[in-house]
Symmetry: C2
Subunit: 206 residues, 2 copies
């Protein structure tokens, strides 16, 4: 089970690393998470050099493909060379976006006739691509999902983990980042240990 | 106004990048955010190579010093050479931690006689250092603050931004990452533009 997160220059740091960190908390042997781009590194909106694990073509052979957000989406949505390198199949793959990453899903044709959500500052641009934009944190249509607002990455990642690892992993991973006393409790310590334990087999129960 | 985030090997990705991304959303001319470590790069708990901007001694001349969490805190809390390089002054600096970063505040002597919060899996270790641990997301004692649970980084960063840039910046920055329809709305688009505008003067109003 391979999840790929697609980045580019001028991506939003938090969107990448929230999804990356949460996806990596699932401790299953065949569970792989990759950061993909055009180059060995991409520069975030704040100037951080983030390493990639492979080229964007690897997304075509991933079980899950997630697009991050950031100012760079405005460039990439018009970059036909870049877009043409993706051969994604929503029949076989889960495909999702956070915030302005929805512009890329739309540019790739995956939001035709669907509702979607995005960041407030990209609502008009997404609408100009013919998408009906709804003021929701998370919108799922079969294997296509969009999330809006950085922290809504939780819903997007939760959707992936529930479908690919099960509801127990989803619940534990999402609980593990909640504020103490408001979703996460000291009595959860033993259960949290499962997130740091050696990996289990693909069918391992929590 | 310089904020420094201290990292080390085996740090938690989300804790660094949530604080980093949010602090960088304040658009004031003299507002500087730095990632500090012992080396040009540190390797996160998930194997990401994160660049540092300077050495940990720079923390001694920062207005704000924030310690991240991760398995590496268990090593660093016992590393007397590393600890001795910090000469922090809670009279002049804001000093804070997220999750197991509280072990480092305790090792540096800043939690003596104070209550604090941490991640559930480090509660016992923090107590063994003589700290009274409370099941809260955020605990502030003057210029010392601890937060527990990754997403409680919001409270820690909000505390810093309110004290150093004002309540309006705090409110806008924290709003900017909430889920759409649950704290962030399409009608916020114009206001959010301030987070991407050129920097203002130190006394610039939002």
């Amino acid at each position: 089970m391979k999840s790929s997160i697609v980045i580019f220059d001028q991506f939003t740091d938090l969107d990448l690393f929230l999804m990356w960190d949460l996806l990596n908390r699932v401790r299953l042997l065949e569970w792989e998470v990759r950061i993909l781009g055009e180059r060995p590194h991409h520069i975030s909106a704040t100037g951080i050099s983030a390493p990639t694990h492979g080229l964007i073509e690897e997304a075509n052979h991933s079980d899950v493909v997630l697009f991050v957000s950031g100012q760079g989406t405005r460039t990439k949505m018009k970059d036909s060379d870049w877009l043409s390198r993706f051969r994604l199949d929503p029949e076989k793959q889960l495909i999702g976006s956070i915030c302005s990453g929805a512009l890329l899903l739309a540019a790739l044709g995956f939001l035709k006739g669907k509702t979607a959500t995005t960041y407030p500052t990209t609502k008009q641009t997404l609408e100009s691509l013919g998408v009906t934009v709804e003021e929701k944190a998370f919108i799922e249509h079969g294997n296509i999902a969009t999330a809006g607002g950085c922290l809504a990455s939780q819903y997007l990642v939760g959707w992936v983990i529930e479908k690919k690892a099960g509801a127990e992993w989803k619940q534990l991973v999402l609980k593990s980042i909640q504020p103490v006393g408001a979703g996460l409790y000291f009595s959860d310590a033993a259960e949290l240990g499962k997130l740091y334990a050696p990996v289990l087999s693909a069918h391992g129960k929590i």
